[in-house]
């Protein structure tokens, strides 16, 4: 059994950071530091993470959200709260890194979608959407634009290439597949500028310009 080498203060600080992460108040650097926290402090961290989310769900959603906690989790939680060293390591160490990402995405569901079944449906739906997107890209890429296009203007995540050229970029889809999308960087920039300035609309939903940068263009070029 691993003896914890972190003292009480460090543990508290770690929990504070964890709570901030659960509230979406932790920025990139601090999140990276948190993920790299020493292994000694990992015992029970996952249970603490789930506790924070459970607390948040109950506060926001009311009593019914508490129901979906599994008995397995509850027993681990009780163990943790009693401040007794766990007799069996609850999870492999790798899990806390992977799980928080998944939990963050689902952590703010409304109370009536608390059951695991609907999380699965949501997960499947998003996977299907991603698969559909990938399919469209693969299918649509059959007619690539042959001649060189506008100069490679500095767009966010682009490796500079000799002008003039179509800017190619690898985009990581949530499913982890890498797709190569052909984009016209200059038009992309103008689209972004249009979205930013086009705030003279009653229906201005919070659509940020950057949201459309990841999109492909449809074929109808006449």
């Amino acid at each position: 059994m691993q003896v914890t080498t972190m003292n009480q203060d460090d543990v508290l600080k770690l929990h504070e950071r964890l709570s901030a992460l659960a509230d979406g108040e932790l920025d990139g650097d601090e999140t990276a530091q948190l993920m790299a926290a020493p292994r000694a402090g990992r015992d029970g961290l996952h249970a603490t993470w789930q506790t924070y989310h459970l607390i948040g769900d109950v506060l926001r959603g009311g009593e019914q959200t508490a129901v979906h906690a599994s008995s397995d989790f509850l027993s681990r939680l009780q163990t943790r709260l009693a401040q007794e060293p766990p007799l069996v390591p609850a999870r492999p160490v790798a899990m806390p890194v992977a799980e928080p990402v998944a939990v963050v995405v689902h952590g703010r569901e409304p109370a009536n979608d608390a059951s695991f079944r609907w999380k699965m449906v949501a997960g499947c739906a998003s996977f299907v959407a991603v698969a559909a997107l990938a399919w469209t890209v693969v299918g649509g890429a059959g007619s690539p634009v042959p001649q060189p296009q506008m100069a490679a203007v500095e767009a966010p995540v682009v490796e500079a290439k000799a002008a003039p050229q179509v800017v190619e970029q690898e985009v990581r889809l949530p499913s982890g597949e890498a797709q190569v999308m052909l984009r016209d960087a200059r038009l992309d920039e103008l689209l972004a500028a249009h979205k930013q300035a086009g705030s003279s609309s009653a229906l201005q939903m919070p659509v940020p310009a950057g949201l459309l940068r990841s999109a492909t263009f449809t074929a109808p070029e006449r």
Binding site: L133, P148, P164, P174, L190, Q196, A209, L212, R213, S214
Partner: protein, 340 residues
Amino acid sequence: MSMLSSGRAAVAVVSLGLAACTVLAQVAPATVDAAPAVVEQRSIGEWLTRMHDASRKRAYTGTFVVSSEAMLASARIWHACEGEQQIERVDALTGPPRTTFRRNDHVVTFLQDSKVARMEKREALGLFPNLLQAADTSIAEFYSAKRLGQDRVAGFEADIVLLKPKDKLRFGYRVWSEKKSGLVIKLQTLDVDGKVLEQAAFSELQIDAPVRLDSLARMMNKTTGYRTERVETLVADPAAEGWALSEPVPGFRSMSCIKRAPQPGMPPSTMQWVFSDGLASVSLFVEPYDAQRHLKEGLVGMGATQSLMRRSEDWWLTAVGEVPVATLKSFAAALQRTRK
């Protein structure tokens, strides 16, 4: 004896329950009937003002998805407000990771891969109320509003409102407006045939979330580890730049005109002239023609946004807008150079 008394108790409970049901049944329909009558009578101006106010006066967080035939993009959003101050944080969930903060008209975009923080000043929002007051009949002249029914989106009950254009120069919209606050939680852009071109919706939403303006502001100012870039925009006068529309496109009024400050090593700066009819906007980007870069005229459509690229002697025009292609063509035809 005990069975008899418990039997009586059961009968009493059942009859009480029935009585309560009949009372409720009589009361309920009356309230249900009254509400839709009030809601049906809202004018388009009232619907739009309600929707606009809700987005400025309510704090909310949620996940937002924009989808069309060819693309799907989503983002996580936080919005907080305090008096006249608005602050928003948008984390893109698709494409290159980036976070955009907007505080009134100051925008900071953190590009996580290249570690760049881009700072810009955009036109202040809130043009819509001015639009509504200045030309009261303008939007009502070109669109009509009709409540279609109600639906549930992201756990909220919403009124479905159809904003139907009165001519073929603009798109229609189906708006899901949350019943209590009026916040737009789903929006479909419909082309002239009624087909859905693009849909934007919250997949999950929390209205009146405990989002604090100061904590978002703090995150916005934290640029450690990022190289800051400032994008300067200057207000421009189209007439002074030498451009005018020979005839206005019905419904669309000139909103603003800006030029980005020229940057070293970049192509000469482009003028952006923005028009709007209250719901849709069109940007005309004009820059000097460069044979090396401007190779392809034509039309590109992505979701609801159409773009048209055309050369006009020494100039290159890119017209972009959430409008039918015919409208962009009208703009391109009407745009004229007033001086050499």
